[in-house]
Structure formats: C-alpha cells, structure tokens
Symmetry: C2
Subunit: 589 residues, 2 copies
C-alpha cells in the first residue's frame, strides 16, 4: 500500500538532494544523527503508517466519535494506532534527549508526519496537537509543569489540545470571555479557577489517552471584576482533564461537532467550570497568553499545511494508479483497436500533472519551511519562516484540495462513490483552509504582520534566496526562461508591496486574499525552480533515474506555464487598489 | 424559507426584464399564456419547493436508499414530494395540451425547476429524468409507445431513466456490449430481448413510482452474432420495469452506488436479461440510438447545469444570511466597540460578490439557453443552443461548486459541520462536473463537434449577438470599458479558434479544457454585460429598486475585473499549442 502514500524516492529527493539534510548533522543538536538513523526512522514511519493508520481510514469516517454518559468514545483502531505511534517514539522524536526524546530534526519529524497524514489525517491529528502542546509547555512552562504535563505527552500517554475559540469569538480572540479567577499557588505554579465555553476543540474529549492536557486562553479579571479588553488581557493556562490527584477536573463536553470530513478527530464544545471552576495553572506571565499560544498556532499551521499537502499527494497517487489501470476510449481521431489506458488521454495527463505540481509542490514548500525550523539560531531563517508560515498553511490547503478535486475527476463516477478513498480525501481536506486561521485571516497576517508592519527581514531573505535560485537557473539553459519569468514576477510582487505601502489607510487590506494568492504562487514557483535546478543537473545524460527528474522538471514547467500566469490577474487587482468588492453596498447583495 | 431558494425578484428580472418572456406569448405554442398564468405557476413552484422539497433535504442525505429482497427503498418524503409535484402539474407542465400538458415554455419550466433544485436537487432529479425520458419518446416513439410509456410519465405516475454507461464503457459509448436480440413485433413495435450490464443508472430502481421506464442503449447483433463496431451500431430501446401485462420484466438491481452526495437519488448498477432477456421495444430506427439519445442527453446536460447553478445560488443565500447575522471582529485598524457583522469585512464581501457573480451568472446562462429551447423553429437559436450546451453544463457545474466552496468559507468552522446545509450543497454539487459527460468530455464536444467540425452557424450567431451587446454597452457610459474588454476577448477567442483550425492533427485537442474555460468565461462575461445594459437603464435616478440593479452591475463589474482576466492565461496556453501536459511521458508521473 505504501505506493499510495508519500513516495520514498520523492522524499529522498526532497530531504537529501534538495534540502541538504546532511548539513543539519553538522549542527550540535543533531550531531548524533546520520542518514542511517534517519532512514531507519522513516522506514518505521512508512511501515507503521501503512500497517496501523491506513487500514482504518474509511472506518474512522463511517464510525464517528460519539458521546454518552461516560464521555466521548473514539474508534479503538485510532487508539491502537496512536499507541503504536508512541511505542515507536514518534511523539518524542523531535524532543531533546533530556526529555526522553530522540532529538530528531523537525524536518525529519515532518517527513514522517507526512506519511502518517497521507495514511490517516484524522488519527495523526491527535499526535500533532499533543506534540505541539508539549512543545509549548517545554518552551514556557516551569520545570514542574514540564514534568507534570509535558513529559506524559512526549511519552504519548496523555494527549493535548488547544482551547482558543469561543462561540462568540472565533477568529476574534480579543473577544474571549473565559474567566480565570486566582485560586492560590502550589508546586505547579499560580492556580486559577476557569469558567467559560470553548468551541472547536479537536481532541477535546475521548477515551484514547489516560489524560488530556488542555491549553486554554482565558482572561484574569481586573479588580473591578471586569475582564480586560483586547488581546493583551489574554493569559494561558494548563487545564488537565484529570488533576494530579486523579480527580476529574471541572471540564465538561457540551457537545460534539459533526463534520463533513476529518471525522476520526473528535471536535467538541467544552464547558469549563460548570461547578466550582476548572483548575488551571498559569503558563508564563499573565497577559502573555496570545504571544505564547502563537508558538503552538504556528506549529499547528505548519501541521495543517503539511497535512493538506499529504492528502493532496495521496489523492494524486490514487489517481495515477487508476489512470494507469483504467482502459477507456481511444486516441482522438481513431475508432478502432482496443481501448487505451486513460493516462494516455491529454486531458487526463493535464489533470495528473496539475496534481503533481500542486501536491509535490505543497510538500516541498512544507518541508522547506520545516528545514527553516531546524535553523532556530539563525535569524534569517526565522525571519523567512515567519513570512512563509501563512503561505505554507494556506497554499497547501487550497491546492491540496484542488489536487483532490482533480483526483475525483480522473476517477469519473467512481471518484464520487464511497467505494474509493478519493471523495473522503477531498472531504477531509476541506477543513484545512478553515482551521487554525482561515484563508482570509492568513492573508491579513501575511500582508499586515509579516510584510507591511514587519521590519522587512523576511522579505530581504526571500529576495536574496530567490535571486540565488534565479542565478542558478540562468546557467541551466532549459530553465533560463523560467528564471526570467520568476525574476519578473518577484519584481512585480515587490513593486506591488511598495505601492501598498505608499497608500494610506486600511483599504490596503481590501485585496489581501488576492495578494496572498499571487505571493504564494510566486513562492511556490521559486521552490519549483529551485528543485528544477537540482533535477536539471541530475537529469544529465549520465545520470540515474532520468524519468524521475524529468517528472520534476515537467511539474516545474507546468507550474510556470499553466499556473504562474494567473498571478498576473491577482497582482493587477492588488496594485490598482480594486474596490469592486470592498465598495459594494450591503443592500446590493 | 423561500429567501434561501431562488429569489423571486431576481427571477422576475431574468425572465421579464432581460429575457423578454412576454415576447414568447406571441408564438402560437404559448399564445394561451400570460404573465398571470406564469406567475401563478412560479408561485406554486416556490410554495411546493419550500413546503415539500426543502424539509427533507438533510434527511435524504442521512437516510440513503437501500436495497433488500423487495427492491430499492427510497425515503417516503421523496415519494410524497414527487406526488405533490405531479399533482400540481410540474411533470406535464412543458408538454402540449394534447399530451395532457400545460404547454408552458421551457423557460418557465426551467425557472420552476431551479426552485425545486435549490430546495432539494436529489428529489427533483427523479422528475428531471422522467420528463426528459418522456420527451424523447414523444419525439421519436410511435403513438402506441407514447400512449403506453410517455403519458404515464407525463402524469408523474411512472418515472424514467437513461441507461447508457456500462462498467467497461463510461464515456466511451461505442464500446457498449448490451445485446438486443429480435423477438418479433407487437402493437408497441419491434420487440427485442436485451442482455447486458448497465452502470450509473440514476433512479434505476425504487419504490417511488408505479413503474420505471428505462431508455436503454444496446446493439443488435449482426448475422454472424457479433455486435456492430462503433457508435453507429447503437440502437435505443424502451425497457419498462413492469411489462404492460403487469409482469416484472427481466431487469435486476446488481447493486447500489453509495455516493459522496446527491444521496436521495438512488444510483444503481442494473442487469438486463439475467433470465430470458429483458423485453424492450425499439425506438425509431435501428442504429439511430445515439442520435436519439442525444436529445435526452442534451436536456439532461441543461438540467445538470441548472441544478448546479441552483445549488450554488442557494449556498450564496445561506452565506449572505449568515454574513448579515454573524457578529465577529472589528474594522481593520480599530480595537474598540462592538463586533461588526462579518458582511462588513472586505474579504467576506469579496466572497459574497464572487458567489453572486458565479451563481446568478450561472442561473442567467442556464435560463438564456432555456429561452433558446423555446425558439425551436429558429435555426439561429438552435445553432447557438448547440454551441452553448457544453458551456451551460460545465461552467455552471464548476462555478456552482466554487460558489459553494466560498459559502463554506464564509461560515467558517460552522460551514464544515453537518448542522448547516452548506457542506451538503457542496457535496451534492460535486457530482455535476462528472455526470452526463465530464468536464473533459464537454470541452472536446465544444471544441470539436460544436466549433472545429461544425458549419460555424453557432459561432456566427454568438458573434452577432455579442456584437449587439457590445454596441449597447458602449452607449451606457459606465459599461463602455467592459464592452471594449469583451470585444477584445471575443476577438482573441476567435483568433485562437482560427489558429487551431490552421494547425494540423489531433493535438488541437490537447488544451481543449483550457479552451473551454476561456470560451465559457467570455460567454458568461457577455451575458453579465447584457444584463448590465438592462440594469444600467433601470438604475437611472428615477428608477425603482436601485439596490437590486446596483447589485447586478456590481456582479457584472466583478466578473470583468476579477474573473475575465484569467481567460488570458488560458487563451495563451491554447493559442501557443502548449504541450507541457500532453507531451509528458507516462513514466515521469
């Protein structure tokens, strides 16, 4: 079954030939690792994904989590798969040895995650949240908090959640009303009693782990008992389902959300403090909550992007297999002879190549940024990572679904039936442009916080690296035409940013989503060209595996010829300050 | 609830202000009708859709048809809704009085259908197939066949299907293997015994009607018992589930297809002739089957387009209602004050305006073509209708889903839950680019049969009508800029066709799908501009209802500024004979 997950040959190209994994081993943090240890871990991931995650993919969709008076029940196969995941060390893989981890690069963890996500996104989502939760506690918690709440998660015995949204505060966290009343202090820090309603909590309750560690955003009331206004008033609390003494904390499931897809991941509305107030311990300083939570949110955004890429990728592999096997029709203009495999029809090739460009492009984008995470002492890498996080999250989500949409189409009527997995991949993937910040929110983050209101460091690094890729591609003749195209689009992107900077007022955000689309397309084009440079060299007459590299070059060319030109329309809209939508009167709809 | 279906004000604009319904009454066939009778029928449709179709929308999704030893069972609410539909005369509405019909224009039937489709596409699909089936029998059957098989369908007592595909012959009908063995003749015509397996039969079996009339494509063996090659060997047969003497015909359900959406419409694999051969009567002449079936296919393609438009439209209405009610966030740059309705955020406005442009645009396209159907004695209208049928089918399907996708996004996380209807609209709509000929097939039909291999009559009519719209818009100052844009895109479209004509070989079809995209976008732009001309006049300072017309003009402008520019990229690909996909080696994927 592994040919339907992430292709190992492809992963090797990305990790070793393109992203220079080996240079990571020169860093002290990763000095104990080698290609041998990494490949062994990826072998394990591949085997475990195929043996323990893939088999219950459809079942998890058909048998949703349910709530009864004992709590939420998830499919036993989900619990078993995650137990195996823990046993093999995938929860702890990215943590330092001092935390019982393996100290693997984030890049490797991400590659492994992609295989699990391709196999079963809604099962591995529990682990993704748990690891990100533990990482936040390790970063900002006290050592007592780390021991009590992070270590059991790193071991995979307890799972974690993030509790941000409330019914009246979805994307607008400044409006949260969950209240944290001081309740003394103990060995775990300042203790509070929380009351409030949280919404959209993935993994919010279930019987798949011994305990659940909620990281909860709440506000500490002022002396006049009112809650502080705005996001500066937000603090972060650790609120476990079961308290250290084993008693049940005052956290109740108010209901389950029944979703279109991603069904194996239970999603709850939680009530904190229906009785005496849920016990929670403050993480870091009061008022630092949102800032701290951004660490987890950023990791979750990367995870969403990578999951979306993996779903797109798996759909492509299914479509490819089907297109090679299904016999239908004849070459245009011929009437006789046996039907041909549909992969020979030009439009099917187009749909497959588009999927390859989208899905492999998204995986490359995600892993490129995972590599940046590992350079955590490099300010340039971190600046670029900040700039690209909304791109990773959103481009991968939007084009992962576009790939799944084409995979359905390649399958014809069969793709629309539940006998095949494609329709589920498509449904699962549809969550990704929504959770952890919608596409619209990511666009405002990119244009506002990451570009117009930043010091420009991220853009400077991008500029320098894009310039390097352009220069390298200029010296690889078949790529020179793309190099010139990229340089031109990048120039226009920067020009558009300058035009926005020069403009007054808030209307610069009117076309933020179009800006994001254009910017992201240019970034993906850059990364395709950067891979193209490697492929072009490897493709030389003496090289091995020419079809593989020819495929990469073909996908690169597809992206430049069929996709990038659309950035033109988006840049024009942004640059001209188009107000057709923003100026529409409400009553005209 | 009707504000969530097709808005009557909008329908009145399309039918009376734009499409000149009243001029239809001048035609002898429609002389008995008036705005009064038509509006009464549309009132009935609106009421019936809201009262009998909408309420079981979700239930039909949750409780799929099932098969047991008595046959296929559908939800009783579906049966009841269709009984009411029959009672009110919607099955017979479009048939001549001699057939117990009301002789209503196809345009009116389509407008009514849109309301039912918006309310519950999978319930009204049974009626759509039945009416199209009966119309084919009326057109090509003998009077005995009409009495026996069309009249009970026109009355809504029996339902109809179309049986084309087989497991090995999906889009490639020349490869069907269903065999029709001569079996004498009787009052119903030449009788045959059919054996074969048919796939994807919507309404193929169920307990919702007294009988089911299958129209089946099959081949009559030659003297050497072999089946004739190619599509010329295809004949058409009427094969009822129950024979005129009440006995069960030899047609068996081989299984049900379980779909992602559109679940209320049962979809079967049927086995014909498991025992003695299914009894069927030849329609028209042997070998005319595919030609005759095209009448039903074209009607079904129009129906698919209209259904897709209606689903997009309903999603837009839901999103609009939600965006007006949901309070979240503040204007960019402000931190204080109460949250605002999300319709005030620029990106939400963009998503709503795009939905309006897609969904209202698709409805306009479908009704424009329905109007052409009513001019069945006008060769020009029929030529244009032929040209536009693949556009109606495909553009409405692709952009209907695009609208539903945005409707989910406007709802945020709620849009992904099954508590709201949006996710179901999106799932239902995903069938539409597949059935009755996929997008890829429609693109080849448009470029091949309708343009390159046609006599050019359809293009000539389009050219003349587009020229008229351009001229009218040139004299309405705010629209002049769009008029010039449209003229330029139309010129480039024709130039691209000339370039394709001049090119040799089958590679002209390599980018047929991109050609279809560009062509369809230009057509939709034309129809938006044509509506814009009307709206611009009505919008004058002395006019009534200025917000309505301003909305139409806004959607028109959106389409020209945000959508049409993408046709540029597609035309370049087609015009340059891009071979990035078609030239990709199979082993490079």
């Amino acid at each position: 079954m592994t040919e339907l997950l992430i292709v190992r040959r492809d992963l090797n190209f990305l990790l070793y030939e393109w992203l220079g994994m080996e240079t990571l081993f020169e860093r002290p943090a990763f000095a104990d690792h080698s290609r041998g240890t990494i490949d062994a871990m990826l072998d394990l991931a591949e085997e475990c994904a195929a043996a323990h995650f893939l088999p219950h993919y459809k079942q998890a969709d058909q048998r949703e989590p349910y709530l009864d008076d004992k709590g939420v029940h998830i499919l036993p196969a989900i619990r078993d798969a995650l137990a195996r995941y823990a046993e093999l060390g995938f929860f702890s893989a990215g943590f330092a040895p001092g935390l019982e981890g393996m100290g693997l690069p984030y890049l490797v963890c991400s590659a492994a995650f992609a295989m699990f996500a391709a196999a079963n996104i809604s099962t591995v989502a529990y682990a993704m949240l748990t690891v990100a939760n533990a990482r936040l506690i390790v970063a900002f918690g006290t050592s007592a908090q780390i021991d009590a709440f992070a270590r059991p998660q790193i071991a995979g015995r307890w799972f974690g959640t993030m509790c941000l949204s409330e019914p009246q505060a979805g994307s607008s966290l400044a409006d949260i009303r969950t209240r944290a009343q001081p309740d003394g202090a103990d060995a775990l820090g300042f203790r509070y009693r929380l009351t409030g309603n949280k919404m959209w909590i993935s993994g919010g309750d279930h019987d798949g782990a011994q305990n659940i560690v909620h990281l909860v955003l709440a506000k500490i009331p002022r002396e006049d008992h009112a809650l502080p206004q705005g996001s500066e008033g937000i603090s972060l609390f650790i609120v476990p389902k079961f308290l250290p003494d084993g008693r049940r904390n005052d956290v109740a499931v108010a209901g389950l959300n029944h979703k279109m897809g991603y069904r194996g991941t239970v999603n709850c509305a939680l009530n904190f403090g229906e009785k005496d107030g849920a016990v929670g311990w403050l993480v870091g300083k009061a008022g630092d909550g949102l800032h701290q939570m951004f660490m987890m949110m950023n990791e979750a955004r990367m995870g969403v992007g990578l999951g979306a890429a993996a779903l797109g990728y798996r759909g492509y592999r299914h479509a490819l297999q089907y297109a090679r096997e299904r016999q239908q029709g004849r070459p245009i203009g011929t009437r006789d002879g046996a039907p041909i495999a549909i992969i020979q029809h030009a439009d099917v090739k187009r749909m497959l190549l588009a999927q390859k460009a989208y899905a492999e492009g998204a995986l490359a984008l995600c892993l490129y940024c995972a590599r940046l995470c590992d350079e955590d002492d490099d300010a340039e890498a971190q600046a670029l990572l900040g700039l690209l996080t909304p791109v990773v999250k959103t481009w991968s989500s939007e084009y992962g679904i576009a790939a799944n949409d084409l995979a359905i189409q390649v399958h014809g009527g069969y793709g629309y039936t539940r006998d095949f997995d494609i329709e589920q991949l498509y449904r699962d993937n549809r969550l990704n442009p929504i959770h952890e910040g919608t596409t619209g929110i990511q666009a405002i983050d990119l244009l506002g916080r990451k570009i117009l209101r930043s010091d420009g460091a991220g853009m400077a690094v991008a500029h320098e690296r894009i310039g390097r890729t352009v220069a390298a591609a200029m010296s690889a003749p078949p790529l020179a035409v793309h190099a010139r195209t990229l340089a031109e689009y990048w120039r226009r992107t920067r020009e558009t940013i300058d035009a926005l900077r020069a403009r007054e007022g808030t209307s610069v955000f009117d076309n933020a989503t179009y800006f994001h689309r254009a910017f992201a397309h240019v970034i993906v084009a850059w990364l395709w060209l950067d891979q193209g440079v490697i492929a072009e060299k490897a493709c030389a007459p003496t090289g091995h595996d020419p079809a593989f590299y020819a495929g990469k070059l073909r996908a690169c060319r597809f992206f430049f010829e069929c996709e990038l030109p659309h950035a033109d329309a988006w840049l024009v809209l942004v640059g001209s300050g188009n107000d057709v939508a923003s100026g529409a009167a409400e009553e005209s709809f």
